[in-house]
Structures are given as structure tokens and as C-alpha cells.
């Protein structure tokens, strides 16, 4: 590693380093990959057990019929957000710290949406009927209920998956072409040739490419706001205490970006170490992300406080009862985990030393992810377990099937991610070269 740092970054070295990343997988990689596949197997087994036995094994008890699966769904959609934020919004704002990490963030987005999309289906009693959520002409002239926010979700998440995948694939074209030109073996060469769409790197191609990228960025930007706003409306549209409040859309969006950035940090730190990318993903990049985490943490904190205040100020006994219950009832531990992880822990990031300390960042980012998972759990489960009618109150406990599927979903996400870093350029060659000094003749 020390040897590598001594060599300055040049155009040639960037290409070499990225091509080396997609070389034959090492034993270390296999040691990471095989357990994830095994855990995906665990999740799949749990799922089929649930299909065979029915949703009863998922811990659903009256009155809580939205539990861990919906929590997981919201969590993974949230993780997907920072990818588009980093690749589109920060691109439009010309923030340079995005360049080394945006490819990883985009990949994360695509895989997180793929993971999130599973959960509404897992949550169904008869998952094979999930097609009924999609409007298509049928002989019985039945249409979906467009008034339901759950159907808005189908459109929001579907659009998001489409746009983020296109953005991801288009963004990689020049880099894949660079790999195509370096690899020798036939099957890989063919695959990279197809994925590079015949890119030659001519001026004309670059002209169209950069133009297209700008438009994609502009189109993807509103999606960052819209997708999680629609997800928040799944709750805010319902008259359940703790759900129905106007701050939900921006609050969910901020929370999504918050958790997404934390996940980017969690993922890039090991990758940076394993592939020796210290010269690419610099401490300044982490500094920039940590600052965005501070901002979103403040927004989330504001939302917690505003909700609590309005519940009190409104004079509604149901709202106030719900919030007091969250903080002092059976789920109080979950509530305070959320508050501490999301509002208290990020305070240490105000110090630059912490923002540039890789170990500290790694721990903080994991704590934030835990906090954000519990945030969704608290909103969904605590609100449902205590609504208007005391006679209908109940307690919900996470079942082993749900835990298995949740663990499986993390494994599923990491599995895709591990495949990605070994097959596709995880650092953007083209954009890294943009920020390097132009080489001098003979130098």
C-alpha cells in the first residue's frame, strides 16, 4: 500500500488500478461471497416456509399487520436515495467530492431498489398475485385502485428503478470501454464489448454523452424527492396517530439520504482498504459526505421535535398519547435507540478530526443505519399497536421468519454488491481523470 501511495495518480495508473479491480477474484473475495450466498439461502428458505405456512409465522397479530417487511421495504428504498443524490444532485451542484464514490453509490441504489422491491411481495399472503398491482388490460376490465398510496408506490419505485438503472448503465459506458480495451480473454471481452455499446471515445461521442448525462441528472433529481415522498404517503395518508402529519414527505426524504450516505460510508471503507483506493476515495471525500450527514441528521432531528411538539400543541389525546407511548411504553428502547443513533451520535461529526477518522466514521455509519432501521420500525409498528381504540391495542414481536428474511435481504444486497465490484468499474475512470492534472509532454 505504501508503495502505491508513493506513485502519483496519472491517467495510466487510474485505468490500470480499475482494471485490476475486475481481475480474477481472490480468496478473500470468495470468503466474503460464499457466506452471503448462504445467508440468501436462509432468507429464501424462510420465505418458502412462510408461503407454505401462511403469514401467521410472520408475527402478524391484531392490530399490527404491517411489521418488519414494510420496515425493511422503507429502509431499503431509503438506502437507495443517496446514490441519486450523489450522482445527480451533487453533479448539478458541481461538488467534486462525489467523483470517486458516485459509481459505488449508484450501484448501491440499483441493488437497494432491487432489495426493496422484494418486500411488498414477501408481505403478500399470496405473493404470486403481485401482478395485480400493475395496471394492465384484462378480460374482466378490472383496474387497480389508483386512489391507494400503495399503488403510487408501485409507480414511484418502478420509475426509480428504471431511471437509476439507465443512469447507472449509461454512466459506465466509457469506463467499460476502457476495460474492454485492456482485457484479453474472449468471453469477458465480448461481454464488455456489448456493455460498452461500441464506444470509441471520439469527440462527437463525448459531446453527446456529456449532454445526455446532464439531462439524466436533471431528470433524476426530482426523483430523489418524489420516491420517498410517495413512500411517506403510505403512512401520512392514513389517519393513524403518528402517521398523519404534513412534515412526512421532506422528513422521509432527508432520512433516506441520511441512511443512504451512511451506507455509502459503510460500504466504501472496506472497499477502499481491500483494493487500496486511498488515493481515490480521499479523506476529503469522507469529509464532504459527513457534512451532508450532519445536515440530514439535523433535518431528521427537527422533524422528530416538530412531530412531538405538534402532538402536544394540537391538543389531540390520540396524537399525544402515541408520542408519550413511543418514548415511555414497551417499545421505548427502540425509540431511544433511534434518537441516540440519529440525533446524538452524528453530533461528533461536527469535529473535523472525526469526519476524517476512518474507523470512527465506520462505527458511526453503522450506528446510523441501525437508528434509521428503528425509525421506520417505530413509525410503523408503534403507531399500529396503539391507535384510537384502547380495546384494540396489542403488542407485536418480531418472529424468526422475519428476522431470517431481513438477514437474507442484507445478504442479497451485499451479494449483488460483491458481484459488482468484481465485474464492473467501481471507480469512474473518466471522471477521476477529469480531476487529475493534465499530463505534460514527456513528463
Amino acid at each position: 500500500m505504501s508503495q502505491m501511495q508513493q506513485r502519483p495518480l496519472t491517467y495510466a495508473r487510474v485505468t490500470e488500478d480499475v482494471v485490476r479491480m475486475v481481475d480474477k477474484p481472490s480468496k478473500k473475495w470468495w470468503a466474503l461471497f460464499l457466506p452471503t450466498v448462504a445467508l440468501v439461502g436462509l432468507g429464501v428458505t424462510c420465505f418458502f416456509y412462510q408461503v407454505a405456512e401462511g403469514l401467521g409465522v410472520a408475527g402478524y397479530r391484531h392490530p399490527v399487520f404491517w411489521g418488519v417487511y414494510i420496515t425493511d421495504f422503507v429502509f431499503w428504498v431509503g438506502i437507495a436515495h443517496s446514490g441519486t443524490l450523489i450522482s445527480a444532485i451533487l453533479y448539478l451542484f458541481r461538488a467534486r467530492f462525489r467523483m470517486s464514490i458516485y459509481r459505488i453509490a449508484e450501484a448501491m441504489t440499483v441493488f437497494a431498489v432491487l432489495t426493496a422491491g422484494l418486500f411488498p411481495i414477501i408481505h403478500l399472503g399470496r405473493p404470486w398475485n403481485f401482478l395485480w398491482l400493475i395496471p394492465y388490460p384484462n378480460s374482466r376490465e378490472l383496474w387497480i385502485n389508483f386512489k391507494s398510496p400503495l399503488v403510487w408506490d408501485v409507480f414511484a419505485v418502478g420509475t426509480y428503478l428504471t431511471v437509476s438503472s439507465v443512469f447507472f448503465v449509461v454512466g459506465m459506458i466509457p469506463d467499460i470501454a476502457a476495460i474492454r480495451d485492456k482485457v484479453k480473454e474472449t468471453p469477458r471481452k465480448i461481454i464488455y464489448s456489448i456493455l460498452s455499446f461500441g464506444w470509441k471515445g471520439s469527440n462527437k461521442e463525448w459531446l453527446h454523452y456529456t449532454r445526455a448525462y446532464l439531462y439524466f441528472a436533471a431528470l433524476a433529481t426530482p426523483l430523489v424527492l418524489s420516491v420517498h415522498s410517495v413512500v411517506s404517503w403510505d403512512f401520512a395518508m392514513g389517519n393513524v396517530p403518528g402517521w398523519h402529519t404534513t412534515i412526512f414527505p421532506p422528513y422521509f426524504v432527508a432520512g433516506a439520504i441520511f441512511s443512504g450516505l451512511a451506507m455509502v460510508i459503510t460500504l466504501t471503507i472496506p472497499i477502499r482498504k481491500i483494493f487500496h483506493l486511498e488515493d481515490y476515495i480521499t479523506l476529503d471525500n469522507y469529509d464532504g459526505m459527513a457534512k451532508l450527514i450532519i445536515l440530514t441528521s439535523c433535518i431528521v432531528g427537527y422533524a422528530y421535535a416538530a412531530e412531538f411538539f405538534m402532538a402536544w400543541y394540537s391538543g389531540s389525546p390520540y396524537e399525544w398519547g402515541q408520542f408519550v407511548y413511543r418514548a415511555t411504553g414497551e417499545y421505548a428502547l427502540f425509540y431511544w435507540t433511534m434518537v441516540i443513533c440519529n440525533c446524538v451520535v452524528p453530533i461528533v461529526l461536527w469535529w473535523e478530526k472525526v469526519r476524517k477518522n476512518i474507523k470512527a466514521l465506520f462505527v458511526i455509519s453503522i450506528l446510523i443505519n441501525i437508528g434509521m432501521w428503528f425509525e421506520r420500525f417505530n413509525i410503523i409498528v408503534i403507531s399500529l399497536s396503539r391507535d384510537f381504540e384502547p380495546g384494540a391495542w396489542g403488542i407485536y414481536k418480531i418472529s424468526f421468519v422475519e428476522a431470517g428474511i431481513t438477514i437474507g435481504s442484507f445478504a442479497w444486497f451485499f451479494m449483488f454488491f460483491l458481484l459488482f465490484v468484481k465485474t464492473l468499474p467501481a471507480v469512474s475512470i473518466a471522471e477521476m481523470k477529469e480531476i487529475l492534472p493534465v499530463p505534460k509532454k514527456g513528463g
Binding site: F93, A95, P222, S229, T245, I247, A306, M310
Partner: protein
């Protein structure tokens, strides 16, 4: 930094002729007279309501300008450096705002329904007049102290030639945090609670983001005549307006997002304690037309008209668009406040004179500021000097 630039900017101080100030101060005086004469008479309610609308709007613009400068500083944005001093100059009005806040409490019986009504718990605690006064005055004073230190440090950079960016970047987040909190209090106490049974968690952000957008609009509007008069073409190029146009367009989209987030949630749930507020403003005349005008001015018009590049870089056009958006945001405050206090929409000469008075007072304090201090922050480490027509 090029010494000739420093000399050139320093020479631009005290260039605004005295008659300009006199005109604006005279107009402000007219507004004050129109207000004072009517403040105890038959039309007392009307002028106090207008006072509240203008107080909230212009205070928002004044503080929003400083917040915009803070944002530029935190993000190390080079592109907007040239406009930084102009936008932070708005904050000179916040001193006047503190006085106006105290004046507002004199007229509490006309504008704050909770001043003479009693409510059940917990509203009797939160809407207790002493508590309302204390939290708003103390909060705003803290903000003013931060403003003072921030502005002083920012100006010192230019006048003493000492780099203070580290200190500025420490002060900037503090200003933004206190801004969000204090302006949420303003929004709750002086707008939301005028209808004491209505509540919305997004109301605070809706006000403080709206104020920031108004300040961005005002930066565009006021920088153009200044640039013409003081000959700042070398420092404020078409790239600045191009970027400001984009920012304004983006924020118009964000404004409508916040508006829609509240509207959809309330409309869909259809609960009477929430819908009353909206129905009065969006469904029933006379305010319905007003609501449509606001949507047009704050979102539809700026969003569509700012699409072509020409509309962003030709200064008269971008100033016109910014003016429409700015007026829309003023009307927005009007619509949030007035229907809670009265059922009728009346316009009189007093409305016009009071608003004009606030506008003139705002411009006068701003001009005093930019006349006294360097109008371009040449001492800032991220300031690139004369714009060469390129680069960001």
C-alpha cells in the same frame, strides 16, 4: 489577490448619492405615517394585519439573505462568491425587524387572537402572551448577535486583509440552525396560531424555505441596478445570473413540493380540524383566486419561464421573473395570515402605503450597508477576482 481589484472595490464605497437615500427614507416615512395614523382608529385592524404580513415577509427576506451567504460559505461555492456581500447586506434590516417585533406586541389585540382568548391546556401554556413574547424576542436577539458576529467577520476579511474563513465557516452553521428554529417559532406563533385550532408540522420549514427563496429573488433583483450603477460588470457576469436563475428555478420546484406535501396530506385525510384552514384559502372566494395567483407566481411562471438559458442570462428578463416570484411569496404570506383574521378581502390605500414603506425601509438599510462596506467580498479566499467570462 490582485491589489488593483481591492482598490477598485474600495473606491466604490460611498458612491451612492445622498438623494437616493432621502427618497427611500421619505417613502419609508410615508409608510410609517400611514400606519401610525390608522393604528388606533377605525381601520386599526386592517393596518395591523398588513403590518404583520410585511413584518414576516421582510424579516424573512432580510435573514434569508444572510442565510444564503452562509450556505455559499459552508459549501465553498465559488460560483456565487461575487453576490455574497449583496445578499448578506439584507441582514442590515434585521435590526429594524427587532424593533418591529416589539411594536407588533403593542398591537397584539388586533392581530393575535390568542392575546385575548383563553384556551384549554396545553394551548394556554404555549400561547400565553408572556411566553410568546419572551421566546420570540430572546430567540430573535440571539440570532441578531450571531448575525452581527458573522457580518463583522465577513467585512473584516476585506477591510483588514486577514483571512477569517475558518471562523466564518464555524459561525455559518450556527446562523442557519438558529434561523431554522427562530423562524419556525415565528411561523407557529404569528401565522399558524392565528387559527389556534389548526396545526401543520411542515409549517415552519414552509416559512423559512419560502423566505430563503424570496432572498434569492431579492439578490437577483437588487444586484442588477447596483451592478449597473457601480460598474460591477467585471465581477458580476452572465454566469452569476445563469446560476442564480437555475437556483431560483430549482427552489420554485422545491416551494411547490412543500406546498403540495401539506395540501395533499390534508386533503386526502379530510379531517375537519385540518381542512378548514385550507378550504378557506383554496376553495372559497374571495381568497381562492389569490391562491391560484400565488401558485402561478411562485411556481408555474418562474419554473417555465426560466427554462431557456436566455431568460437566465439577460438581466432584465431574469429580474422580471425574480420580481414575479418575489411578489408571489409576499402574497403567500398575505394568504397565510389574513384569512385567519378576517373573512373579507379588502384593499385600501393603506395596504399599498404600508407595504411600500416596508419595501423602502428594506432597500434603504440595504443601500446604507453596501454604500458603507465593500460591495464585492474581495478578501474571501474563494473569490476568484474579475470574472473573465468563463469558468465556475
Amino acid at each position: 489577490m490582485d491589489q488593483s481589484v481591492n482598490q477598485e472595490i474600495l473606491a466604490k464605497r460611498n458612491q451612492i448619492p445622498g438623494w437616493v437615500f432621502k427618497v427611500f427614507l421619505a417613502l419609508a416615512a410615508v409608510g410609517v405615517v400611514a400606519f401610525v395614523v390608522n393604528a388606533r382608529g377605525e381601520r386599526a385592524e386592517e393596518v395591523w394585519q398588513l403590518f404583520l404580513v410585511n413584518f414576516l415577509f421582510w424579516t424573512g427576506v432580510a435573514q434569508g439573505g444572510l442565510v444564503f451567504s452562509c450556505i455559499l460559505r459552508i459549501t465553498n461555492a465559488r460560483w456565487g462568491r461575487g453576490l455574497l456581500r449583496i445578499s448578506e447586506g439584507f441582514a442590515s434590516f434585521t435590526v429594524v425587524s427587532l424593533v418591529l417585533l416589539l411594536v407588533l406586541f403593542i398591537g397584539q389585540e388586533f392581530v393575535l387572537p390568542y392575546a385575548h382568548h383563553h384556551y384549554h391546556s396545553p394551548k394556554d401554556i404555549w400561547l400565553n402572551m408572556n411566553f410568546v413574547m419572551a421566546r420570540n424576542v430572546i430567540g430573535f436577539s440571539i440570532l441578531l448577535v450571531l448575525n452581527y458576529f458573522y457580518l463583522r467577520t465577513s467585512i473584516e476579511q476585506d477591510l483588514n486583509g486577514k483571512e477569517r474563513i475558518v471562523r466564518l465557516k464555524k459561525l455559518a452553521p450556527a446562523v442557519i440552525l438558529v434561523y431554522a428554529l427562530v423562524f419556525s417559532l415565528f411561523a407557529w406563533d404569528f401565522m399558524m396560531s392565528l387559527d389556534p385550532h389548526w396545526f401543520s408540522t411542515l409549517f415552519g420549514p414552509y416559512y423559512f424555505i419560502g423566505s430563503l427563496i424570496a432572498a434569492i429573488g431579492a439578490t437577483i433583483i437588487l444586484s442588477v441596478p447596483l451592478k449597473r450603477y457601480l460598474g460591477l460588470d467585471d465581477y458580476l457576469s452572465l454566469h452569476h445570473y445563469w446560476d442564480m436563475g437555475k437556483i431560483l428555478q430549482g427552489f420554485s420546484l422545491f416551494w411547490v413540493y412543500l406546498m403540495f406535501s401539506q395540501l395533499l396530506t390534508i386533503w386526502y385525510a379530510n379531517m375537519p380540524e385540518e381542512t378548514g384552514f385550507v378550504i378557506k384559502r383554496v376553495v372559497d372566494e374571495p381568497f381562492r383566486s389569490f391562491a391560484w395567483a400565488i401558485l402561478t407566481c411562485c411556481f408555474i411562471f418562474p419554473f417555465v419561464s426560466l427554462l431557456p438559458r436566455t431568460h437566465k442570462i439577460v438581466t432584465p428578463i431574469v429580474v422580471f421573473i425574480a420580481t414575479v416570484s418575489f411578489s408571489g411569496l409576499w402574497m403567500d404570506k398575505f394568504l397565510l395570515i389574513i384569512p385567519s383574521l378576517t373573512d373579507e378581502l379588502v384593499f385600501s390605500i393603506n395596504h399599498f402605503l404600508i407595504t411600500l414603506g416596508f419595501l423602502a425601509g428594506f432597500v434603504a438599510t440595504f443601500l446604507l450597508f453596501v454604500n458603507r462596506f465593500p460591495v464585492i467580498p474581495f478578501g474571501d479566499p474563494y473569490f476568484d477576482g474579475k470574472s473573465k467570462g468563463g469558468g465556475h
